[in-house]
């Protein structure tokens, strides 16, 4: 294995990321720049940035590997990741932007006028953000280990350090350009090797996949195991379709749009970018079935995208293509981690660091906001980094699934009901958030601690979204109806603001 091309690829991505981040830093002066890029990011750029941030290592590496091993039921991951944006467009994009809040806790406080809801949301944002950062760090370790043979701790440490420098120095404004660059890098890094591999495949006479004994299961888009399998598939659909709108790093991006209409157009552009990107992993899985059966058999399917060029094209060409894919994968970990770090740092900076007297500067001093954000960024990165170094194998796919299920069980009902239903009360919101979050968290915690088990119990615990989301909605609606006399007095006016187009404002 020639490690040089891979190392060069990773170094180039890291240098480019830092260069774009610091070059843009001179534009980043105010607190508003740090948090929301002063809300002047145009839809095209913003959509590339959202795509770059959203397409994590799970999409870049994981999906193709899962497709190779398990077949069509894993197609629900990319479909769900994309459909989640359609639901976000339809249900929350424009109103969320018009709410004028920085973060999810800001939205909650503005909607309910309640510090308690705000506090619960802050805890949940940090929880979901850390859960999602964990697999990013782990995946970076796996990638560098597979492509250049580095020890497992190198990837997480490099990603953590680069993210910290980028986020801490330029905040949201510099990150926007870095993320946009990384979407196109990721697309190129999958598309170019795929094109070459397809040419080779056609040159080989377009051989059909070596027929595996489980072909029927491979082409059926439902998890195996009858009823529980069908339930697990639907639970995955619920988690990914509804979880996207509740991911803190996704939601925080909407505040960088100039207005509600731009937020909608940005979301539609993201749908297009994601749709183009997710056409590629199934093609890798198909070529993997032709050339890479050995990888799946050896349990190395998660590095299929990295290894396939080497397997198909031995020699320098293969090594160069693998280097390109490695660079893309590294970009995936960097961009998603940066976005999550910004979101978590924003909440930690405002609600934890900003509150503590020790760290707060003079009142009204813009620097105290930026200082708090930087301290928040350190906390946001260092905690999950330490956890990923101390516990090497939490399970990448499971953590990502947990983050989606958690977001779907908490923030999705909060946002949808909060935006469309005037009757939602603070008590209802808190009850639903706590029940949804604890229910989902307990189910996955039980799976992590006691291992997987088959049948209905296993399916219900491993894929809680299909029951925890409806439960959270029911609790929110039920408690709100019981406390109907405590509907916030400004709720009507707030809803009016969310749905009134900017052009109709006096």
């Amino acid at each position: 294995m020639d490690v040089l091309p891979g190392v060069v690829g990773v170094v180039l991505v890291t240098v480019a990321t830092l260069a774009i981040g610091t070059w843009r830093q001179r534009f980043s002066r105010t607190t508003s720049d740090f948090f929301v890029a002063s809300r002047s990011v145009r839809p095209g750029l913003n959509a590339s940035a959202i795509g770059g941030e959203y397409l994590s290592g799970a999409s870049f590496l994981g999906v193709a590997g899962l497709l190779l091993v398990f077949g069509a039921d894993m197609l629900w991951y990319p479909v769900g990741f994309t459909a989640g944006y359609l639901l976000l467009l339809v249900l929350v994009a424009a109103p969320l932007r018009r709410s004028g809040a920085y973060t999810l806790p800001d939205f909650a406080e503005a909607r309910f006028g309640s510090r308690t809801v705000r506090a619960v949301c802050s805890v949940l944002v940090v929880a979901v953000g850390w859960l999602y950062l964990l697999p990013q760090f782990e995946g970076a370790g796996i990638t560098l280990a597979a492509s250049v043979g580095a020890p497992r701790w190198v990837g997480p440490v490099v990603v953590g350090a680069v993210v910290l420098v980028g986020v801490g120095s330029g905040g949201m404004r510099s990150i926007t350009f870095v993320q946009a660059f990384q979407y196109w890098l990721k697309l190129t890094a999958l598309l170019v090797p795929l094109a070459v591999l397809l040419v080779v495949w056609v040159g080989d006479g377009a051989p059909a996949p070596a027929s595996a004994p489980d072909t029927a299961a491979w082409s059926l888009p439902i998890a195996s195991g009858g009823g529980p399998g069908l339930y697990a598939t639907y639970s995955l659909i619920v988690a990914t379709f509804l979880g996207t709108m509740g991911l803190p790093h996704v939601v925080v991006r909407f505040y960088t749009n100039p207005d509600g209409g731009a937020a909608r157009r940005t979301t539609l552009a993201v749908l297009v970018l994601l749709g183009v990107f997710y056409l590629l992993p199934p093609a890798y899985a198909f070529l993997g079935r032709v050339y890479g059966e050995g990888l799946a058999a050896a349990g190395r399917a998660d590095v299929l995208v990295l290894e396939l060029p080497r397997v198909v094209l031995p020699g320098l060409a293969g090594e160069l293509l693998t280097a390109l894919v490695t660079a893309g994968a590294f970009a995936a970990f960097l961009s998603t981690s940066s976005g999550l770090a910004v979101a978590v740092a924003g909440v930690l900076g405002q609600d934890v660091v900003g509150r503590s007297r020790l760290l707060r500067g003079r009142e009204g001093d813009g620097l105290s906001g930026i200082g708090a954000f930087r301290v928040g960024a350190v906390l946001a990165v260092v905690v999950p980094l330490a956890v990923s170094l101390l516990t090497p194998d939490v399970g990448v796919a499971r953590s990502v699934g947990l983050a989606f299920a958690m977001a779907a069980s908490t923030f999705c009902p909060l946002l949808v009901l909060g935006i469309w239903w005037r009757g939602l009360t603070a008590a209802g919101a808190v009850a639903g958030l706590v029940v949804g979050g604890c229910g989902c968290g307990a189910a996955i915690g039980a799976t992590l601690l006691t291992g997987t088990r088959g049948g209905w119990t296993g399916a219900l615990l491993e894929q809680p979204a299909a029951w925890s989301v409806p439960l959270a909605v029911l609790v929110m609606v039920g408690v709100s109806l019981l406390t109907a006399d405590r509907v916030p007095p400004h709720a009507r006016r707030f809803l009016a603001r969310l749905h009134t187009p900017e052009s109709a404002r006096p």
Binding site: T31, S32, G44, L75, W76, L86, P221, W420
Partner: protein, 123 residues
């Protein structure tokens, strides 16, 4: 992308300690007529969102149930690929983009109609 770059503004975030107050600059649902207009906008947008979600449920989310009930469908081939792979690997993305595009057009039309009404009333 040809539209002029929006003016950069310095914003300070929503007030945290105070609840949003009624003010002259808030959307004008102060009068009975304004309230009616706004309620009808909200109803139309809610209905539109529900329609898109329903289409998504019928066309996409129904697929696991369909293939569970008729597993033989998975053996059907479309252009050399089995049906589930053709549907979920390729066809679903144009569908999602198309749904999003038609939603965007309709939502913006509702808002334009509302803006015209409000402006007319203001004179």
């Amino acid at each position: 992308m040809s539209e002029p770059r929006p003016q950069r503004v310095r914003v300070t975030g929503p007030p945290r300690r105070t609840r949003p107050r009624a003010s002259a600059t808030d959307p004008d649902d102060d009068t009975a007529l304004g309230g009616v207009y706004l309620a009808s906008l909200l109803r139309e947008q809610r209905r539109l969102a529900a329609r898109v979600v329903a289409v998504l449920l019928v066309l996409v989310a129904s697929l696991p149930a369909v293939f569970h009930l008729a597993p033989g469908l998975a053996d059907v081939e479309v252009g050399g690929v089995s049906l589930p792979w053709a549907l979920l690997g390729v066809a679903v993305y144009p569908l999602l983009v198309g749904l999003g595009w038609s939603y965007l057009r309709r939502a913006e039309r509702h808002e334009r109609d509302y803006t015209d009404l409000v402006r007319e009333r203001r004179g």
